[in-house]
Symmetry: C2
Subunit: 405 residues, 2 copies
């Protein structure tokens, strides 16, 4: 890990390039893919978040002229740091070339040692790249001059004749799929785009090819199991929605009851749903920052105390989160005979949703009715699974609802 | 479409081969992918349903010895027709070879004209192939001797040197991804598997390659936009879940109120969610068979009539569906002051879920509260969207719940 420390200490200067100037013509969508909403945020925002790392000096995004103002607003609203926008070209390589030109100016102006500069190229529509993958690829580029992540072929690649007839099929074990991130030494990428032919500039897409063809550098290919897939088809959007919701949730469980059975069962469900449990706390004062989903566990013969808790948590979430979205779920044990409590909660949660101050925070109430004590395990599990599902989905349509288990 | 009619009139005899003998070793899952549950049913069942066509004479499935009894039970339970199971081999080609041998015996015993026989090969883990695609590929195989569906490359294919270094990158426009279904004339596939080398049998996967190498037949490659992707990674399972739920739902809306505003709004939402609306009917007697999701629209100052409707529909669904799953959603307009009606419905729906006779049918109640008449458009839309979502998701955890909008 010496190399990783090296990066972070900024002996090496790392730039990231995100081409995002596509207009969605190919997919026929009105909104280009990179601006489609995934789990409540434009896709490109998920990608940009991945590059908000102290060891990445600057992220250069190529965007079409039409979408430039929109992206500027987005970056301001979500306070994305160290990002520079350029107007891209008609093709992927044209856009990257413009970004490379910007990096060159920055490097020259900063008078930093060009041999310490690494340039990462990534697609805006691959929103789940892990920091570790970015680091590995930057390290490899430093050693090799160029590097890219690859995955095994899922289906055979065929070479075609012009009339749609099979020419030959490729041996799967000798080939792989090229993904991004890719990374390049400054010298490699600058040379590649200086020398690129008109044909490659207009028709090519693969930067590793340019590195080989124009800079004579054979890239190191790193196999990865990281989720670097490209959001291309509707099926990818479905999957991205699920992945993004799991990844975004940063959960805290708030409960003042030590040894409450419910907490243990809830934790299991939270784990099953792949949610990040940031904190279990017994008091609001210890609620950590960065939380965007809170589950309040309460045991209430009257509604007053838990509604007070809910109101306070909402206030905190609202202040911390804006402009991000979040959720608050009350998981409350209520004796069956306490119909008034149930009705109070139902009414109050419907009002909470309509409260303009709580916009962007989904509120749910899950009532675990107790006929007998202790509550049967199966019903407790059901309530906890339902609660965890609500947190993952963060479905605005369900906001304000009370669920009785 | 003459050719399609030709197929259906059974001048040509079409067999389908589904290799499904993989043990999931590669993915590390306990349950092989083809038996994982997607939208309530094992993945392979979705695939088998696609081959239940009058023009497909028989579907031959290769399965591992361990999973043979399970698959036998599944086929019996879900009454899958014209299917024959064989114990597969260690590799894809070994399994297909065993299936081809079975087809050969069938053709010889039936003394049918071998030149009229077409064999489709498909993967059990590509559950969304459309009938039209199967027909197109069978037609093409009849003309060309071999045919396969292909998609454009989403990412560049790279040729690698042995040390994980880039050898060269392939030109995207001259290559494509091979998917299934593929289809072959009887002569082509029999020859290919008769002559297959030990190395190909043990290490290869591409049947189009065998057709070319051993039968000298160059396949026709058909580009498709059909959803023929392979369920390989977790992201594919997420997407398959969504696609399967949309495709399975065969919806009827039951309402005795002509000109009810709600119906129009609901229909829009149903369309948005890509649900198949099989029927709108005003009486239970006209409820068509094949329906697995019913939305009952009611306008009830008392609960008696709508609960009667719900009970009758449930009874019908239960009889028609078994062993399939389904859902029933009551979308009911209730004046705000009628608290008793609301409470009645809540209690009754929770009981319905617990009623053992209603297992496998999810029940939901959506109450659209009317403070004023007419109901505000926005709230009506919200109730209808929520209802449509419930039908798509068919989430057992939400069964028995009452939602108030």
């Amino acid at each position: 890990m010496n190399e990783a420390i090296d990066l972070i200490s900024e002996k090496k200067k790392v730039f990231a390039i995100l081409p995002a100037a596509g207009t969605g013509e190919r997919t026929g969508l009105k909104t280009p893919k990179q601006f489609c909403e995934i789990a409540g945020y434009p896709l490109i925002l998920h990608s940009l978040w991945n590059f908000q790392r102290p060891w990445i000096a600057e992220t250069v995004v190529a965007v079409s002229e039409d979408w430039l103002p929109y992206l500027q607003d987005l970056i301001k609203l979500y306070r994305i740091q160290n990002v520079h926008l350029v107007v891209g070209g008609q093709t992927r390589h044209q856009s990257i070339k413009i970004c490379v030109q910007y990096v060159r100016e920055r490097v020259q102006n900063a008078r930093c040692n060009a041999s310490d500069v690494i340039v990462i190229v990534h697609d805006a529509v691959r929103p789940f790249v892990a920091e570790e993958t970015l680091q590995r690829i930057a390290e490899a580029a430093h050693k090799q001059g160029a590097a890219g992540v690859v995955c095994p072929l899922v289906s055979t690649t065929l070479a075609t004749q012009e009339d749609g007839i099979l020419d030959y099929s490729l041996v799967r074990s000798k080939h792989c799929n090229s993904h991004t991130p890719q990374a390049f030494s400054y010298q490699t990428i600058v040379t590649a785009y200086d020398k690129i032919s008109k044909h490659d500039l207009d028709h090519g897409t693969e930067v590793l090819h340019l590195a080989l063809e124009y800079a004579g550098v054979r890239a190191k290919l790193l196999e990865t199991k990281d989720e670097v897939w490209k959001v291309t088809y509707r099926r990818d959007i479905c999957a991205a929605e699920q992945f993004a919701r799991e990844r975004l949730a940063r959960l805290a469980i708030l409960s003042d009851q030590t040894g409450n059975d419910v907490i243990g069962v809830l934790e299991e469900q939270v784990k099953k749903k792949r949610l990040t449990l940031l904190s279990k706390c017994s008091s609001l004062t210890t609620l950590p920052s960065g939380v965007n989903a809170v589950i309040v566990i309460a045991d209430a013969p009257t509604t007053d105390q838990c509604l007070l808790d809910v109101a306070t948590v909402l206030e905190r979430l609202k202040q911390q989160l804006h402009p991000l979205k979040g959720s608050l779920t009350l998981l409350v044990t209520v004796p069956t005979e306490e119909k008034m409590v149930r009705d109070d909660l139902m009414t109050r949660f419907r009002e909470l949703r309509l409260d303009q101050r709580c916009r962007d925070i989904c509120v749910y109430c899950v009532i675990l009715e107790t006929k007998s004590s202790p509550v049967e395990k199966e019903r407790m599990e059901r309530a906890c699974e339902l609660t965890a599902n609500l947190v993952v989905r963060q479905d605005e349509l369900m906001s304000g609802q009370t669920f009785i288990v």
